[in-house]
Symmetry: C2
Subunit: 242 residues, 2 copies
C-alpha cells in the first residue's frame, strides 16, 4: 500500500457519478413520466437538464443566500424548473407523481465495479458516502444498489455542500479522525482539490461516461492525486491488494 494510506482509517466517497450512474438511472425513472404527460424530450436529455441545475442550486446555500436545505428539496425545486421550461401543465400532474419522480435520485444503478470494489475496500477501511446527497437519499440508494457503507457522512452532517471545507472537515470529525487519516474518493477533480485543501488524502477514479458519450470534463486527473485509478476496482487493488 502507498505509505500515505497506512494511517488512513476512512474512505469518503463521492457517490453521484463516482459510485452510481445517475444519468441512465434518472432517465429510466423519467421515461414513463415523460411519456404519460406527452413531453417530447429525450429522457437522457431530461436527466442532463435536471442535473445542470444541481450546482447553481447548491451554490445559493454555499454562499449563504439561503439557509441549509437537504438535497431532495433542491432536486424537487429543480425538477419543477425543468418541467416549467418544457411548458408542462402542472394541473395535470399530481403531487404524488412529482414526489415519486424526485426519488429517481435514490434508484440509481452502481457502476458495474462499484459493489465488488467497496466490499474489498471495506475489509481494510471504514467506508461511507462523503456526498452532497442527504442521509435518507444515501441510505435508500445504498439499499437499492447493495452499497455496503459503514456510515453516512457528507453535506447533511455539515449542513453545507461540497466543496465548502466544512463538509470534508465535519465528516472527518464525525468518524473521529483527523483529515489526514481520511481520503476522498471521487471522479471529479474539483472535489479532490477541495478535499486536499482541507487536508484529506485523494483518490481519483476515472468515470469517462458519467455525462454520456460526449463527456468533456474530468476525463483525466488534472493534479497529482495520491491515487489515480481507471476504476473503483483498480483503486481497491492499489489500496488493499486482492
Amino acid at each position: 500500500m502507498l505509505d500515505v494510506f497506512k494511517s488512513v482509517g476512512f474512505l469518503g466517497f463521492d457517490v453521484f457519478g463516482t459510485v452510481v450512474d445517475w444519468r441512465s438511472g434518472v432517465a429510466r425513472a423519467a421515461e414513463p413520466f415523460l411519456r404519460k404527460h406527452s413531453l417530447e424530450v429525450d429522457p437522457l436529455q431530461f436527466a442532463d437538464e435536471w442535473r445542470s441545475l444541481y450546482q447553481p442550486a447548491m451554490q445559493r446555500v454555499r454562499s449563504g443566500e439561503r439557509p441549509w436545505v437537504k438535497l431532495d428539496v433542491l432536486n424537487r425545486e429543480n425538477l419543477e424548473t425543468v418541467l416549467r421550461r418544457h411548458q408542462v401543465d402542472f394541473g395535470a400532474i399530481t403531487g404524488a407523481e412529482l414526489r415519486e419522480l424526485n426519488t429517481a435520485w435514490e434508484k440509481l444503478d452502481p457502476w458495474p465495479d462499484s459493489v465488488e470494489a467497496l466490499r474489498v475496500l471495506k475489509g481494510r477501511f471504514a467506508i461511507g458516502p462523503l456526498s452532497n446527497g442527504h442521509i435518507a437519499g444515501m441510505l435508500n440508494l445504498a439499499r437499492f444498489g447493495g452499497l455496503p457503507w459503514d456510515v453516512i457522512t457528507g453535506a447533511e452532517i455539515a449542513h453545507n455542500y461540497k466543496p465548502m471545507p466544512q463538509t470534508y472537515l465535519e465528516s472527518a470529525a464525525a468518524v473521529g479522525l483527523p483529515p489526514q487519516r481520511v481520503s476522498m474518493v471521487a471522479a471529479h477533480n474539483d472535489d479532490l482539490t477541495a478535499a486536499r485543501a482541507a487536508g484529506l488524502r485523494t483518490v481519483f477514479i476515472r468515470r469517462p461516461s458519467e455525462h454520456g458519450p460526449n463527456q468533456i470534463t474530468d476525463l483525466n486527473a488534472t493534479d497529482n492525486w495520491d491515487v489515480v485509478a481507471e476504476s473503483l476496482i483498480e483503486a481497491a487493488e492499489l489500496l488493499v491488494g486482492r
Copy 2:
C-alpha cells in the same frame, strides 16, 4: 408480520445493553489498566461505577446546563471521576493510556444473537443505531463486532440525548420517514416510553443480564409494547419470519 410494522421502514436500535454487552467488554478493557496501576477494584465493578455516571452526565446536556458534547467526551470525564474516587495517581498515567481506556466503549462484544438477528432484520428493514453513542463510536463498534448497520442515527444527529424527543424525531427525519414508520428497538422500558411518546413503534428485547447476575431493572416489559421478545433473534422471527 404485525400490522403496525407493515409500513415501518427503519428500525433504530439502542446499542449499549440491547445489541452489545458493555459490562463484560468494559471490564475486559479495564482489567490490564487496573492491574498495571495497582487499583484494587474488580473490573466488573469498575465498569458498573463508570456506567453509573452515564445518565447524570447526559442529564446536564438534556437540561441545557451544558452545551452539546459527544458521548466520548462524557465517558472520558466520567472515567477521570471514577479514577479520582479510587485515589489514582494521575501523574503516573499517560494521556495515551486514558484515551486508549476510553475506547473500551468501542470494543464491546455483540450479544450472541445480535449479528445474526440484524442480518435477518436488514433483509426487510433499514437498520441503524438510534443510540446515545456518537457516530464514530457507533462506527468503530460496528466494525469491531460486525454489526451490519445501514446508517447511524441517534444523539449526534440531534445534538441531544435520549430520552429527549428530538433525538427520536430527528433520527426519523434523517432517514426520511415519519415517526410512525420508525420503530425503536431497546432493552430499556424508559427508552421505549419516550420513543412511543414521540410517535415511534416499539420493540422490547429482554436482556436480563446486561447489568450482571443481580440485575433488578428492565427484567420485563412494563408496558404493552408493539413487540416483546426474549431476544433479538426472537424479534427478527416475529418481524420478518425465517
